[in-house]
Symmetry: C2
Subunit: 444 residues, 2 copies
């Protein structure tokens, strides 16, 4: 790997950026009726003559985005003035400094907005590293050796499920065929599914037409939000199934709405529409309960993970056989070292990873992780698919691109986490031009 020059971090800035998505009920579900998709956005600058910046963000849904900004600010002393020596070892050291702060960890540990802030900063550091190395992040990771990847992985509290030696075996097992898979990925892309048709706030007519359009666009799976009202859900499932026909997978997403018994009954009541998975049927802190739901609703699969706090909870979800589908989120855990742990755990337990996306910027980021997983960890696309939602991509300099229902492999160096400067400016909260206009119209 090309040796990068040293650079010193000169600035770590955090911005409160919000998109007024609640105006159109984009993103509405049973627990989050009116999200304003938002990012607590980090910019890392260095003294290197290349002028490159690293970018990352916490994804939030509006109120509280300023708390995420404060959490990023709290990490600044660890970074400003710190040296990026251009090595992976150096990046691992930064991970340990951020996650190991003996006072800050009290606010989690390993969970909530302080953990998400660590994820934002680490994603920015890796974005910068990949930009400096001249590679898209998925490719940078896929080119590392098994030993390098294991050295970067956070194994803390995982010893009873995954040791570094076991991780090495997984990665070595995936080495044959890497080049072939990479070529296939570049040629064909990575499977996606369409979550846009099924927001709870959309009308029946909009649902039907959006579902048909998704199939016409080449998607083989769509997703519906459920959980607010059973009669509505039965009607909407019927509309969706009639729109897409019998061969398209329909996933359901309850967004944590139910108690255990309720989850089982409700899912069974919708089973006639042949749902592929039920997502987040109950609290994201449930391990035992999710396992019980899974046993009760089979053959409907259970999917969860977008609100799973960290690798320790994922480990237990896998140990308890609570998951059929692991839904990695790019912005909830502590960056690449924890993503590596989660991908390796999933491989160890043979559970497919189908990342959570949507929101703002999640599609951009998570495709890198799924593609790396395919090339270098799981080695397969079987039952793998990444969520896709078709909005807000225009604000990114390297937006997600979908062709025939598949994510195109990114080719631009970095983690695709860079907002366009004009968007950063216009959507700044509360005083960007968009928000000033919203308030002038009396709607915000």
């Amino acid at each position: 790997m090309k040796q990068l020059t040293r650079a010193r971090i000169t600035a770590v800035d955090a911005y409160d950026v919000r998109f007024p998505t609640s105006r159109r009920l984009d993103g509405s579900d049973a627990m989050h009726p009116d999200p304003d998709y938002s990012a607590a956005y980090v910019t890392i600058r260095t003294d290197a003559p290349d002028g490159l910046e690293g970018h990352g963000f916490c994804f939030t849904i509006g109120r509280g985005n300023e708390v995420a900004v404060a959490a990023i600010d709290a990490l600044r002393p660890h970074l400003t003035g710190a040296e990026l020596d251009g090595t992976l070892t150096g990046l691992a050291d930064h991970y340990r400094a951020l996650t190991g702060d003996s006072q800050l960890r009290w606010l989690g540990p390993d969970k909530g907005v302080t953990h998400m802030a660590i994820g934002a900063v680490l994603n920015a550091l890796w974005d910068l590293h990949a930009k400096r190395a001249g590679k898209p992040l998925w490719k940078l990771l896929a080119d590392l050796t098994p030993e390098e990847l294991v050295a970067l992985t956070d194994f803390r509290y995982l010893a009873d499920a995954l040791t570094p030696d076991e991780a090495l075996l997984i990665l070595r097992r995936a080495e044959p065929g890497k080049a072939e898979r990479e070529a296939r990925l570049r040629a064909e892309g990575y499977p996606a599914y369409a979550a846009s048709p099924g927001w709870l706030g959309y009308s029946d007519a909009h649902l039907a037409s959006a579902a048909r359009r998704a199939v016409a666009d080449g998607f083989t799976q769509i997703k519906l939000k459920v959980g607010a009202d059973l009669e509505d859900d039965i009607r909407r499932c019927r509309i969706a199934r009639e729109a897409v026909g019998p061969d398209i997978r329909i996933a359901l997403d309850a967004n944590q709405r139910w108690e255990l018994g309720e989850a089982v009954e409700w899912t069974r009541a919708l089973a006639g529409f042949d749902p592929y998975w039920i997502e987040e049927p109950t609290s994201p802190d449930e391990i035992l309960g999710l396992a019980a739901i899974r046993r009760a609703v089979a053959p409907v699969k259970v999917a969860a993970g977008e609100h799973t706090a960290n690798r320790v909870v994922f480990k237990q979800l896998l140990q308890a056989q609570a998951l059929d589908i692991l839904q990695l989120d790019a912005c909830r855990v502590a960056g690449i070292p924890e993503h590596l742990a989660i991908l390796l755990l999933a491989a160890q337990f043979g559970v497919p990873v189908c990342p959570h996306a949507g929101g703002v910027g999640l599609c951009e980021l998570v495709r890198h992780l799924a593609m790396f997983d395919y090339v270098a960890v799981s080695g397969t696309l079987e039952d793998r698919t990444v969520e896709y939602v078709d909005h807000l991509h225009e604000h990114f300099t390297d937006p997600a691109v979908i062709a025939r229902g598949r994510y195109t492999a990114p080719s631009v160096p970095g983690f695709s986490s860079t907002l366009r400067p004009a968007s950063l400016h216009a959507y700044s909260y509360p005083n960007g031009a968009v928000w000033l206009a919203e308030r002038a119209q009396g709607v915000a």
Copy 2:
């Protein structure tokens, strides 16, 4: 119950208050070598002519306290201008508004600093309610009917372990003997144990003399921090056991330091010193792992809970038989409605609650919860004890009082969560007089 007049909330202010405890290694353990005990402190004022204020706080250990302040600030719009109708129903409505904010919940849900901030604000609301009712909080709660308590409890996601009807049975079972237990509590106090002797940063001589002094002061249990170095721990356990003799319980606290196998081996290596419990042997997110440790280290008991994020995790810890001792924390979960859920869960599973205290203000608050539990929920003191640490009490207007190793029952109206104005002023961070002096001395 006395009917309170209506009042409107006129101000919700949050303060960053820090105590430079790291200067003396008070509070040092294997994961937190240099805490500065801190509070993100809330003051709630109303337009009522009584002039009473409600106080609550997030407890933190220094850096990041400003993030907790930001999280409290994010809750302000739910409270400023809101009416306190003087009823319990009104308090329950405020709970639902704070925990149910559909945008803020993305930052948790139910965990991390945003959840702690909700706890701080709710504790302040209950402090105010108890002050207005003229009762210490433990007594106010103990005087409620089973139906009133159940109506206040957050049962969400608990249906598979505890229903409202089951909670009613528990509370009704405890009704006989309430007056007698209350009288006994006022006469004899509530058992405490001494955690001060065992901080990791203290010298052997200090440990020995502090352990002997704890016994002389009437404590029947002390606690030692362990987990950094096994040889040190063996030496310190020997010193402590020799100092206190065979009849005093010695609890050990690893503060999340170990992997599973390590926890079992280390605890067994110390078993010869007859430890009563091993506390937080591994990640606070472990449910399955903690259950495995418990099975392996018996008859040494397993204690945990101070970092347990919420009632859903407590429920699973109990369902998995992972706990011998449930260590409720007064400031990590969402106030009285969630405390009630946790106390009722513990009673349902027959597990004793021995609250976490220490830090700043935790002793003041948690005694109320333990005393209420004794009078109205568990009905017993058997194997119950509340942690006690003998510092920072002087900063509170109604400080914890210990007599013969037992907490005296508070008699002042409220939740004992009020800082003295002079302390609030002097320890404000970064510009209170104490911090200005610290910086002038070049140590902060």
